[in-house]
Symmetry: C2
Subunit: 395 residues, 2 copies
């Protein structure tokens, strides 16, 4: 029914890293891969042609946002998200679960589903595992995810267990409904279990055995220290089937990509690269720099010497600095393109080093050089973004 | 010294319309032409490649904004504005005069020059006709304008006369200084005279006889009813030399282009097409439409059937509507590209009808069909923009 296929091209001997190939109805994806996020049917500031030029092989759409605006039926009437937004490569849609817990005002959760209040206009919406399959069928992505319950961080072991078991039951219902909707779509399973090693392992085993062609690891990167996230993957990965692609939901930064690959992850998605770009943060091999800093004012060279992105190939760092300081729209585009290309080139490089057996050395070298944003800075930034989002909602 | 040349390719027999060719160091311009405005070294939301694809032959930079940020010396250190912003076609810079009167806080005007306060940080700057020539030499545009005094609207005949005579004396000084700076740049003269027919005629004759290779008509489109602007051109044009290109400063809308050409104007520049686009106003042959209107929500066709712009060739009106409603950055780009292409296609069409002798018929047909924004709407809009600009300055 489905033209989805995953093959492993190489595996690392001294880590869980692998390189693979995913085939979808809209094209082939070579893993490890980073998936730029197009929340509202657009990767913020960037056109489909620019995504393609930056090496994007698959992008992500957010079901929660799309079902509220412009609505999944409208998208369907345009032949699906691919033609609506003019992106003809593979697309993955999440289930909206994460946004319902974080953005929507949760009203009522029962075995059947969830009633929530839209963050846009306060209207009420009822979602069930079946309804989400209908919505995702209308949106028409190549890879879709089932409705899940993302436990808050921190939470009690009992809460974590309840959310996990609930999610498992909903996933079974999603599997059944999906076959009734559009069998040609590929439904990934979601592994939950919060920060309980035993639950994580259990979830990996249960979901791993269900007939999902791929698996997403959910409920991580929700505010916990990074070490805790990596510890969880240490428990999850050994319990996952080898032959299914693994997607680490909502992760992450350049260093996350490098580390996550070694922990057996194949696919990554995150708004971080485009969001930090919009705030002036641009990736280089030495870490994230702020293009607004005075030292770039007269910089004749590109943001990073040797970078092959459109921005670095065509503009000086001084020009990008000028656009950022004057808050010109072109800045948001040029910054986003640079960071997206950085992530995709990094994914490409990771694939190369897995194929040629030098992943471990590359990982060491990369992490020794790349200075990540500190936990403190990351938390301050997250607070700032939340504040901005709240202000925007009040307007 | 200068490689600037203007040749007239055709003249209309029943109006003052003409089609011409301008040669500059960075390329050839076919007139009539619309020049997109790149205030801060970028045409808002649009890349140089997109400008080119939309048919832009020359763009405008604002001296006032550029000298404050990033500074003309910095631009010079990058080899001028062309390489700084990666636009390698012709550029025209205005003199900053208009912005000094409208944005800067005028402190002191004397025969030598003007001291004003920056709208950005309140710092004081002294400008003289000579200093402006130095600044424009550093920016390095193909066509440059001299410092002028734009009389307020309305103003007394005595005020109008004083401003005009002052401007004339400054223009003589600019001519001398420009030869000392960069003789290869082309300095246009500016015709002033406010809304006094005799002064307008006088200014046209005086400036027309001075050794400027081209002429800009200043001091119009400053808040007066449009009829008054056209009446002024009726007094100006007959007094202008036939063999110099004529630039109508800060004008305008599609209908202004069509009417202005008949009154003998060859070059037009205005932020209006990109500014109204950012607010949802998109041009069609029937007039300006608001893409945010509900009727576009489900529109499968493009913004305008038959439009050859990138936006209309690749996206449905419904998608553009969705982006505009969700305030996605890609909207500002797609809307701006559509309006810029509309203006440039209109200029192209005007050239065609002048060349084939059907300008008068085209003008009649266009104006019968195109419903312009009313004076009332235009004033309300102007107020809204001013308010937004004031708020931005307060932040």
């Amino acid at each position: 029914m489905s033209s989805f296929r995953f093959t492993i091209d190489a595996e690392c001997s001294d880590s869980w890293a692998r390189a693979g190939t995913i085939e979808t109805p809209h094209g082939t994806i070579q893993t490890p891969i980073f998936m730029p996020v197009g929340t509202q049917a657009t990767v913020k500031s960037v056109s489909p042609e620019e995504l393609k030029a930056a090496g994007a092989q698959i992008i992500l759409g957010n079901t929660y946002h799309l079902m509220l605006r412009p609505g999944s039926e409208l998208i369907q009437s345009f032949g699906g998200l691919h033609s609506f937004m003019n992106w003809h490569g593979p697309i993955l849609t999440d289930s909206g679960g994460f946004q319902i817990w974080s953005l929507g005002h949760l009203r009522k959760l029962n075995e059947d589903g969830v009633v929530f209040k839209s963050h846009l206009d306060g209207s009420y919406h009822t979602l069930t595992p079946e309804r989400i399959m209908q919505i995702e069928a209308e949106i028409g992505a190549d890879i879709i995810l089932p409705l899940d319950i993302c436990a808050p961080y921190p939470c009690s072991p009992a809460e974590a267990k309840k959310a996990m078991e609930w999610t498992h039951r909903w996933e079974e219902r999603a599997l059944i409904e999906k076959e009734r909707q559009r069998p040609e779509q590929t439904l990934f399973g979601i592994v939950q279990g919060a920060f309980e090693p035993e639950l994580r392992q259990q979830s990996a085993e249960i979901i791993g055995k269900m007939p999902f062609p791929g698996l997403s690891i959910g409920g991580l990167s929700v505010g916990e220290p990074k070490e805790q996230m990596w510890e969880m993957l240490n428990h999850v990965t050994p319990s996952l089937p080898r032959d299914k692609p693994r997607h680490l939901l909502g992760v992450g930064s350049p260093e996350d990509l490098v580390i996550g690959v070694g922990l057996g992850m194949d696919m990554f998605d995150c708004v971080l690269p485009t969001r930090v770009a919009r705030h002036g943060g641009l990736f280089t091999q030495d870490g994230r720099v702020s293009i607004k800093k005075a030292r770039f004012r007269t910089e004749h060279g590109p943001i990073e010497e040797g970078c092959d992105c459109y921005t670095c190939q065509n503009y000086s760092a001084a020009y990008v600095h000028h656009l950022a300081r004057t808050e010109e729209q072109l800045y948001y585009r040029l910054g986003s393109i640079h960071n997206i290309r950085f992530m995709l080139r990094l994914a490409q490089r990771l694939r190369e080093v897995i194929l040629n057996g030098s992943y471990a050395a590359f990982r060491e070298e990369f992490l020794a050089r790349y200075i990540p944003a500190s936990q403190e800075i990351r938390e301050a930034q997250r607070e700032k973004w939340k504040q901005a989002a709240r202000e925007k909602q009040r307007l």
